[in-house]
Symmetry: C2
Subunit: 116 residues, 2 copies
Amino acid sequence: MSDLAPDIAARLRRNPDGLVPAVVQQHDTGEVLMLGWMDDEALARTLAGGRVTYWSRSRREYWRKGDTSGHRQWVKEVRLDCDGDTLLVRVDQEGPACHTGDRTCFDADVLFADGR
Amino acid sequence: MSDLAPDIAARLRRNPDGLVPAVVQQHDTGEVLMLGWMDDEALARTLAGGRVTYWSRSRREYWRKGDTSGHRQWVKEVRLDCDGDTLLVRVDQEGPACHTGDRTCFDADVLFADGR
């Protein structure tokens, strides 16, 4: 059992691993910073305010971003999509969001750019 | 076999269903519009330029957004994240992105808002 509010838990549509993807966006610039994964408990902790908590699929543990790196994410807003299967988390990101040191996890690899 | 370039296919990390999530963002305003899913072929079609193609998990078919609704997405830029397991697709969205008629799939359900 998690601490997630029952009305929210009832709206969530989780993948077979019990997770939903969370798109993370810098609240003022609109930059898409990264995508993380949350189970009910990670979402409950994130909704408590303060900092964003994910479920790490590789380490199989909760992961409050910034605890190791110092690059903390402060929660500004959390939204659930029309299907209940994706979260949008708007944050204030301290420093780089990416473990490579890039500002966002999408900075390095451009597959296609129209007319540039 | 898909038409995806081998160097890109080699960098993609797919989920057990062979899919990667694609975060879709309006290129000029920064709005996060929706999240869709792509397999190699959907990505190849999207990278060919023009409009965004997804794999519909519910209908189990390719889905070029706008063919039914008229709400077409024109591809501006496609990026792959640092782990190779998430795409960021920047588009020019015609009309609402959400099947509910909302501009984005995240308009309706705010779970948390800080200080507002």
